[in-house]
């Protein structure tokens, strides 16, 4: 059993789908942050079988929660202060994600119009389908 020490202040992202932790690491921009990050892959989980965990020592407000919910809304966020969990946050799918993913439809206006934000809208919550706001192409990169 691998042991990773407690963090004093920051967050623990738990119940990440196994293998997705590096995606989240990149989407959150953790590679650009000067803070301690522990990435635990394929940890044993009673519920999920296997899961990934991310531990980050930083201010929780620096996180873009919408991005996190879009990537995997089953993730739980444990907010840590003084080495203790002070809050558990459950994510829900954002209605809209801006500049997180890009539309890959070559016929979409986003492919030529400069400065246009890439916006995806939640079209079907049950099936977790997002569509480009402009061309309505389904996002299939998840």
């Amino acid at each position: 059993m691998l042991n990773v020490g407690k963090i004093e202040e920051g967050f623990v992202l738990d119940h990440i789908q196994a293998g997705k932790s590096m995606d989240i690491y990149e989407h959150l921009g953790l590679d650009k942050m000067d803070c301690t990050v522990a990435i635990i892959k394929n940890a044993r989980s009673k519920i999920m079988g296997k899961k990934d965990i991310l531990k980050v020592e930083c201010d929780i407000e620096t996180l873009d929660l919408d991005v996190l919910a879009f990537i995997d809304h089953n993730i739980t966020i444990n907010v840590i202060k003084n080495g203790e969990i002070v809050e558990k946050r459950v994510l829900s799918l954002p209605k809209e994600v801006k500049n997180v993913i890009r539309c890959h439809n070559p016929r979409c206006i986003t492919s030529i119009e400069q400065g246009l934000p890439h916006i995806f809208v939640l079209a079907d919550e049950e099936k977790e389908i997002y569509r480009c706001k402009y061309c309505e192409e389904k996002y299939s990169g998840k």
Partner: protein, 304 residues
Amino acid sequence: MRHLMSPLDFSTEELDRLFDLAARIEADPAHFAHACEGKILATCFYEPSTRTRLSFESAMTRLGGRVIGFSDANSSSAAKGESVSDTIRVISCYADICAMRHPKEGAPMVAASRSLIPVINAGDGGHQHPTQTLTDLMTIRSLHGSLGGYTIGLCGDLKFGRTVHSLINALSRYDDIRFVFISPQELRVPDYVMEMLREKNIPYEETIRLEDVIADLDMLYMTRVQKERFFNEEDYVRLKDFYILDKNKLGLAKEDLIVLHPLPRVNEISVEVDEDPRAAYFKQAQYGVYVRMALILTLLEIEV
């Protein structure tokens, strides 16, 4: 200020009002001949579409307004690399309303988000062509008497044909409609469209041969197999003549069938069918002008 991006932007009640207005225009065009005097329509066509552009120009001219614009990207500032956002800001200073055709999907929506004047989507790539759908609905309502209560067959390219997808979406809001999709396997209606129909409990069937179902239809919507939608010439040549409506096939149909087509036709309807009273596609083009006149008046909030 309102724009028109998709046929679903208007509620069915709003569409009823629009079609009532179009019917008033049809009954008494002279009454509306000066309704848009002093107003300017900009037709910003980044790709050629003579029919749609002329229909808009005819509509504005018949309302007493004037028209400015361009008919392909090479004769506009887009050729110099100007963005849609910048173009519409400038056009907003020159005109009172804009009809935009663009090969990129969502371009009119970008324009609408920056525009100071109403923007009408006059076709954006394979995405939406709402004024064609309004034309189709207006024609059905005028010739059938209502927008519900019939079996409609859609024939030809049901995969890439945006007019077909828009029409199915628009008709799915009306009662007692049954769809029959007639297409080769390669050009079937996309799954998501059929899924939408299943969710709404709207009956539909798929078939390959037009002859097998034509007798059941109250309406037949023919479409062109568009060369530009194919990646290779061979597929196009193999499929383009798959479904041709001729006198023999029409002989199997009901006496009061209504045959529609968004035009231009290539050879999917034989010219011999044109003289048949069931052929309604040229009337459809006429309704396209009335409905665009009604749309211009509605978006400019001009009451006559």
